[in-house]
């Protein structure tokens, strides 16, 4: 529904959008011409919805092969005078960073906006990150929205700002902006028509001598920020206690103040432009206050900047006591500089500093009640989806390495299959880091034979990861005579982030037919021995893995089977059932293989009859467990 609302031509209309849709709308209101991204939670839907609506407006959208390629493309459009948007998750900024730091020196022309979405707490990420530190290190200005509506406003303004300063601008989102829904009042959309022109006389270069120019540019930005309506305060003009907050902290702080009835005693200062810091704005609010609390996520960025500013101006300011993450006073369950911000954290610190306790309006549950309920609740770990081909692939590799018998190592990578490092993936991975790391680490490990490391090495990478970051590592491995098996788990899409197409999908971002860049053709052209297997035909696949591990050199095995979520949408499911009279229960000797080992959520245990069962509400009919059951008790319906 969001995509229908973001294309509405009705200024003044209030619509419910999530933060990513709102940022997409901001780009439309700014008249964006070029959009590029590699998907990553929680950023994916910005480019996702723009791809859905691009045909209505005739602007260009692509899913790029990775973030640096995406940003380079967007910069090309900017050099030609067009407005360009590039979106990524925090980890993607690392990938794009080499180009960002270079391009920022030479500057750009048409508005160039990066939306970087951090994931405090790591809801959908392996690490939590505060991109503001990287932005500051690159000398790129940062806008940080506090609400869904402001996310739209900031993206829109970022284009104009970028054009004014002739440099890129970052809008820093977080999960609770990108994946929150809120009401947005639509504004008019800009006409897109604009000729791309890049004159032969124009130059955009990177040279160290430009650093001084970028420094001057930041001074100009600071002057613009000094008068920006994105920097504001709330509450009494003078207050002994002032809260400085950025991003999501704004609404949590407001709620905390209202619920403690402190709104007339405490001032909130909300800089929406944390880098470069609007110094005069901050100094004005430091003046006359006695205590300052910092509320931001994830790390103490604003806090460190303000503390440094205070140190430089302390002779003109009264004594101030500071409370924040760096000082350890503002902390959630994971400690001061980790995890998400929320109202409870703000309320706790303000209640402590003011001595005003919080009384909830509803009667709370007692500690004993909570404890005795909690004691009943088993944890719920992530699981691979029912019918997920990765479960079969992991089983294949686990079985093959057991048969091989030399303690083979499995080097993991980033995607749904990162769950190879969890129980649902049989705890198979020995290492798990970032996009493409598996092949690189495997290269290194396989060169350690002269130091006595003789275990076989298997790198497992996803299809989208293969295109994104693995190819250079494979070339390196072939060149340097590495010796391992690289398994590409090909499910046809970028599954984890919402099934975006990739170069092997045969489709592009806007749904047009596209050239299939075949993984096996790429691998063969590099001279690799390549084999393609079906993980659902696991006996043959185990045999293939074993055979390839025993061969010298760097080999590639593609385990191909479509993502279960996509397959379920496209084909009619067959039903799998248990012939309970054939299941021998605990007498079988299989140790309840289907439930205790295989671990598909659809394989359940019928406690009443002490035999296996299939939960038809969960089963998607992949049929892999049919072959795995030693008693032949699991069958296709109709074959029973």
């Amino acid at each position: 529904m969001g995509w229908q609302d973001i294309v509405r031509e009705e200024p003044g209309k209030q619509v419910l959008l999530n933060g990513n849709e709102a940022m997409a709308r901001g780009a439309l209101e700014a008249g964006v011409h070029f959009v590029s991204a590699y998907p990553g939670s929680p950023s994916s839907e910005v480019t996702g919805v723009l791809a859905q609506v691009s045909k209505n407006f005739n602007f260009y959208v692509e899913w790029s092969v990775n973030e640096i390629v995406a940003l380079e493309g967007a910069a090309g459009a900017s050099f030609a005078g067009l407005r360009a948007l590039c979106t990524m998750k925090a980890d993607g900024l690392n990938v794009a960073y080499d180009f960002l730091t270079s391009m920022n020196l030479g500057g750009c022309r048409g508005g160039l906006v990066l939306v970087v979405a951090d994931d405090p707490f790591g809801h959908s990420s392996l690490k939590e990150y505060d991109s503001r530190f990287l932005a500051a290190a690159a000398w790129v200005p940062v806008l940080e929205p506090s609400t869904v509506q402001e996310a739209r406003d900031m993206v829109k303004w970022a284009f104009a700002l970028s054009e004014q300063i002739k440099g890129p601008v970052i809008v820093r989102s977080v999960t609770r902006i990108s994946h929150s829904r809120g009401i947005v009042t639509l504004k008019a959309m800009k006409q897109m028509a604009q000729e791309a022109d890049f004159k032969p006389t124009q130059q955009f270069h990177t040279f160290a001598r430009f650093h001084q120019e970028v420094r001057e540019r930041l001074k100009q930005v600071e002057e613009l920020f000094a008068v920006s309506p994105f920097n504001f305060s709330f509450g009494p003009e003078k207050a002994d206690l002032t809260v400085f907050t950025c991003g999501t902290g704004w609404l949590y702080t407001k709620e905390a103040l209202f619920s403690l009835q402190l709104e007339d005693q405490i001032k909130i200062v909300r800089p929406g432009t944390p880098f470069p810091l609007p110094k005069q704005f901050i100094l004005g609010h430091l003046s006359g206050t006695k205590k300052v609390v910092f509320i931001e996520e994830t790390r103490p960025f604003l806090e460190e900047k303000v503390l440094a500013l205070y140190a430089l101006h302390s002779e003109n300011l009264s004594q101030i006591k500071f409370y924040g993450k760096a000082t350890g006073h503002v902390a959630g369950l994971r400690g001061p500089e980790c995890g998400e911000m929320n109202t409870d954290i703000v309320r706790e610190v303000l209640a402590r500093l003011t001595g005003r306790p919080y009384h909830a309006s509803a009667a709370p549950l007692t500690k004993e009640e909570k404890k005795s309920l909690q004691a009943l609740l088993p944890p719920r770990d992530y699981v691979l989806c029912p019918g997920c081909p990765h479960r079969a692939s992991f089983w294949v590799v686990k079985s093959a390495l057991a048969l091989e018998g030399n303690n083979g190592m499995v080097i993991g990578d980033i995607g749904c299959y990162s769950m190879g490092a969890m129980e649902t993936g049989f705890n198979l991975f020995n290492t798990l880091h970032c996009m493409g790391a598996s092949a690189g680490i495997a290269n290194g490990l396989s060169k350690l034979q002269s130091y006595g490391f003789k275990q076989p090495v298997v790198a497992m990478v996803g299809d989208s990861t293969f295109y994104h970051a693995v190819i250079p590592a494979l070339i390196n491995g072939r060149w340097n005579k590495a010796n391992y098996l690289c398994i590409v788990l090909d499910n046809g899409v970028t599954a984890m982030t919402g099934h975006q197409p990739h170069p092997g999908s045969g489709k592009n971002a806007v749904g047009e037919e596209a050239e299939v860049i075949s993984i096996e053709e790429v691998a063969k052209s590099l001279g690799f021995m390549v084999k393609v297997s079906d993980p659902f035909r696991y006996t043959e696949a185990i045999h293939d893995v074993l055979k390839l591990i025993r061969m010298p050199g760097l080999k590639i095995l593609i385990l191909r089977q479509p993502c279960a979520l996509v397959a379920n949408r496209e084909q009619k499911r067959r039903k799998v059932v248990v012939r309970q009279e054939l299941c021998r229960g605990d007498a079988c000797g299989c140790m309840r293989f289907c439930t205790r080992v295989w671990g598909c959520p659809a394989n359940v245990w019928d406690k009443k009859h002490e035999v296996a069962a299939i939960d038809p509400a969960i089963c998607v009919g992949c049929g892999v467990c049919i072959e795995l059951c030693p008693a032949g008790a699991i069958v296709w319906e109709g074959n029973d």
Binding site: R181, G182, Q374, L376, V383
Partner: protein, 213 residues
């Protein structure tokens, strides 16, 4: 359209379940319905990795005056709509209070630790008894079973939306829900979803009327 006043400010609703049960669609339906009834709405959702069989929850907050953030504070959920018993109970531990209204789909989805025999899934009778002792109202809806009567267990989530409407714990109107459902679900499954909604609505109303006897 007559604007109803909220009983309190803000009203906090948690929609919880297991990744893949259709949590996001329901939070969109509830939020859009809130908007149509002219309340302000903010929603905090979790997706991505957590959609892979993990515990998921969406926080929906309805208000009329001051603006709120997307995360409900500890102990302040007024309604918990749970698509899975264990996950509903887990939210009660963190977010429940004495007056919380709990609406639960009785169909368990076993965590992998339970399937592997490492952990024990509590008996549903014991779990529901305990919850009834703790919070003001507990409605147990056989949503997966009702959905399977329609031939598609996936619509258990919309059965639960119907149950929310039928529970009367929030001043949502059934006709507004239906308008929104028609808009957010694809045309070919509209009738199915409407049927699912009414099955849940009637089930909740039936339970409520039995209770009031």
């Amino acid at each position: 359209m007559q604007k109803e006043t909220l009983l309190k400010e803000p009203v906090n609703l948690i929609i919880t379940g297991v990744g893949g049960q259709g949590n996001i669609l329901v939070s969109e339906i509830v939020a859009q319905t809130g908007c149509r009834q002219e309340w302000n709405v903010v929603v905090g959702e979790s997706y991505g990795l957590s959609q892979r069989g993990g515990a998921v929850s969406s926080h929906v907050r309805l208000f009329q005056h001051q603006e709120y953030g997307p995360i409900i504070p500890i102990g302040e959920a007024d309604v918990i709509l749970g698509f899975e018993p264990l996950e509903a109970a887990r939210q009660v531990v963190d977010y429940g209070h004495k007056n919380t209204c709990l609406i639960i789909n009785s169909h368990p989805v076993y965590p992998i630790g339970v399937l592997r025999g490492k952990n024990k899934y509590p008996s549903l009778d014991l779990l529901f008894k305990k919850l009834r002792e703790m919070v003001a109202e507990v409605l147990i809806i056989p949503a997966t079973k009702l959905a399977s009567q329609l031939g598609e267990t996936v619509v258990q989530n919309v059965v639960m939306v119907g149950a929310l409407a039928g529970s009367g714990c929030l001043p949502f109107r059934a006709d507004t829900f239906i308008e929104v459902i028609k808009k957010v679900v694809p045309p070919k499954v509209r009738t199915l979803n409407e049927k699912a909604f009414y099955l849940g609505l009637e089930e909740a109303q039936k339970i409520k009327s039995l209770k009031s006897l």
